[in-house]
């Protein structure tokens, strides 16, 4: 055990990650997942195992915002994730080969790792007219999803599009876009958000690496460690809500004082997510801190059900 620990430290150092940096990440992940501090070393071990689990990332009707969000991970950095934590065998926006050679990568890993790879999906699936609105290599997204997803150990839907339909499914949903679950009838773990915080993506993967199983989820398939509480209940401006202190306009003394954005349309009271506690971009900010109401971007059908966005609930 002590040898192994030593080697973990060495490997971290080789990667330019100080042990202190790395343990900080492990602490954040453990805390995000609601684990006791004693789990911190185990998280570190899980993240540095010699066998990197194969991951296939499928992109359907999406905007690549979820991939960009993943690139913003800082503990661990994305290069550590790619070179040392998982084996990302297919990801169109990042992989070296194109065309036939890229398709080869997909089919090699799906064949060799059938039942063992993690499939991450961003984007919903256009189902109208036999799925003709989205094609890769002459195949429809619908066909690709039906072929690949059932062969995976687990399907993680990253972003509100793959989880619940999202942008393409917005009324009047011209392409018949559906979530992965609805389009092909399989159970998925959903990490919604537009895009979701990378710490919630990485946290879900770590849960799998650490416990060999996926995290506990709510009835909408969302991991409880990230989506178990309302934004409203964790908001730094909550005391202003309780005191009845509201900002009436973006240019007001109350807005300058950081009062509650409820009257400007904040959807925090109807949205389950950990934005106020985890924040985005290494804890830099989140929408309400930036003076803008929450738009409820991790809730199913929020584009239709929670809009117009500047109208109070």
């Amino acid at each position: 055990m002590s040898d192994r620990k030593g080697s973990v430290e060495q490997r971290l150092e080789q990667r330019g990650v100080t042990r202190r940096d790395f343990m900080k990440f492990c602490t954040i992940v453990s805390a995000t997942m609601g684990l006791a501090p004693s789990f911190v070393p185990k998280v570190a071990e899980a993240l540095t195992s010699t066998q990197r689990p194969p991951v296939v990332w499928l992109s359907f009707a999406e905007c690549t915002g979820c991939t960009e969000a993943l690139l913003r991970t800082t503990y661990p950095w994305i290069d550590t994730l790619l070179l040392d934590t998982v084996s990302l065998d297919y990801h169109e926006a990042l992989m070296a080969p194109s065309g036939e050679a890229s398709e080869k990568s997909l089919h090699e890993t799906v064949t060799q790792n059938s039942g063992k790879f993690i499939c991450i999906v961003d984007g919903s699936i256009p189902t109208a007219d036999n799925g003709v609105y989205g094609m890769i290599g002459g195949k429809t997204f619908l066909g690709i999803a039906k072929d690949i997803c059932p062969k995976a150990l687990a399907v993680l839907c990253v972003g509100t599009c793959s989880a619940y339909g999202g942008v393409p499914a917005m009324a009047p949903n011209p392409t018949g876009a559906k979530s992965i679950q609805d389009a092909i009838g399989i159970k998925t773990v959903n990490i919604p958000g537009c895009p979701p915080n990378p710490i919630n993506m990485v946290g879900t993967i770590v849960n799998y690496l650490l416990f060999g199983k996926l995290p506990e989820v709510d009835q909408l398939g969302r991991p409880l460690f990230a989506y178990g509480k309302l934004v409203h209940d964790q908001c730094q401006r909550r005391s202003h809500f309780e005191m009845g202190e509201f900002a009436p306009s973006f240019q007001s003394e109350e807005a300058q004082k950081g009062y509650c954005l409820y009257e400007l349309g904040c959807k925090g009271p109807e949205t389950y997510n950990n934005c106020p506690t985890v924040k985005f971009n290494d804890g830099t900010s989140w929408p309400v801190q930036g003076g803008h109401p929450c738009i409820g971007c991790s809730e199913p059908d929020f584009w239709d059900k929670l809009s117009p966005f500047y109208k109070p609930i």
């Binding site: 009707a61 991970t73 050679a101 609105y133 003076g291």
Partner: protein, 546 residues
Amino acid sequence: MGERLVIDPITRIEGHLRIEVEVADGKVKNAWSSATLFRGLEIMLQGRDPRDAWLITQRACGVCTYVHALASVRCVDDAAKITIPDNARLVRNLLHGSQFLHDHLVHFYHLSALDWVDIVSALQADPQQTAKIAGEVSPASRSGVNDFRDVQNRLKKFVESGQLGIFANGYWGSPAYKLPPEVNLLAASHYLEALRQQARTARMMAVFGAKNPHPQTLAVGGVTCATDLTADRLAEFKYMWQETMDFVNNVYLPDVAAVAGFYKDWGSIGGTTNFLAYGEFPENEKEPDSLFLPRGAIFKRNVAGVEPVDIGLIEEHVKHSWYEGDQALPPAKGETKPKYDAFDVDKRYSWMKAPRYKGEPMEVGPLARVLVAYGKGNEAVKKSVDGLLKTVGIPQETLFSTLGRTAARALETKVIGDAMEGWITQLVENVKKGDNKIYQSFDMPETGMGTGLNDVPRGALGHWIEIKDKKIGNYQLVVPSTWNLGPRDAADKLGPVEEALIGTPVSNPKMPVEIIRTVHSFDPCIACGVHVIDPQSNEVYQFRVV
């Protein structure tokens, strides 16, 4: 008739793109660019609150995140006749500057570098030599022998694991790769370093933007980040800006010059003919006069004769796109109806329309902006262009090429980054004297028309809105990648990327790395480009699926 070669999917881009080329005698003779995803954003916008439009259009793309948000608030500001406060203009400029710095870095290192850099060859490099080269081209830190040996060992270990992940099945060893192993190691090392730098640069946007991607502090009328205009937040922003500029000056620009030196022949491959820039970064409320990067059009590569732009002369063609009819129409009068019948490069082959200015295909993006600014005598642009040409040792006409496009992107990163310092200083001065105005309240008009013209990392971007009963009546986007990657038009004139591909060498059709180089140099963003649906009627579309 040459051999037909299809590359689908084109990877390391945003979205879903298919390229088909005809190859004869080792060169591309003909080319077809096809977008293969259709989402239909515009119809979703109809009937909604115009204030919500930016949140929706921003989701056109998560790579060019922010730019559709900016274009959207600008077109609604215009329709509601709002003049935004000075601080709002500065914050919007700073957010946009952050977007440029981030986007161009990621494009060079993570979306296009692997077309020029053979990662596998880096394993053969002598780290000592790499350190020597690094020292000659740049004062960057983390460039010692041990640094490069560490990277090499890390890559070796990765390769030995047998799990090559995103690097599996790359075109490694293709004769098209020209860098010596030592330079490959230098670039591979910076590929990894840039993966971290981009996350730090993205943080810059989050200071005043609340998050990245998809920031959330814009509003029609200004910005919302009232509590972030403080000394510590301004300092935080400036610190991250400085860190990014150090990377741009000491790593990105020297790398582009070093790599370009080995690919001088690419200074005569991949060029186009006409260029269009809307211009960007208003320095006061007067547009386009106050734009830091100017507006203009160039025809037939006549850089000295930059013409003013008349937006009324833009038309979108659909003869070769999966839409009904074959009439070219101005964006505001778009009458297109999606109609997929079959994939046929001789008939219809893309979900993108083909925008034309004065009937001509126009390249948009960094090269267009740099050429227009150069032609109009912008000192900062002139100085950096002439400097780079001299460093690499190539003549001015090589700008019209895949290499020129790649270099222009790097050059404008520095020019825009340098300009940001002035905007930060102005914002500091305003806050210091007690000006905290960030938002102008307004009444939404019953009816109105608005235009938002922008020049964003990938090129000229326009949003058009028509307001009816205080709601969105019609909304149109004409985006950079549609200009660059759209198909042929009614007169069968090739789109810019199709034109650029003609003459591209193909050393091995199984490893079409040269084709991908030129395609990537346009930084395609397909989700942005394909969004159009019938703005006039909400009828159910009839699709004939074969």
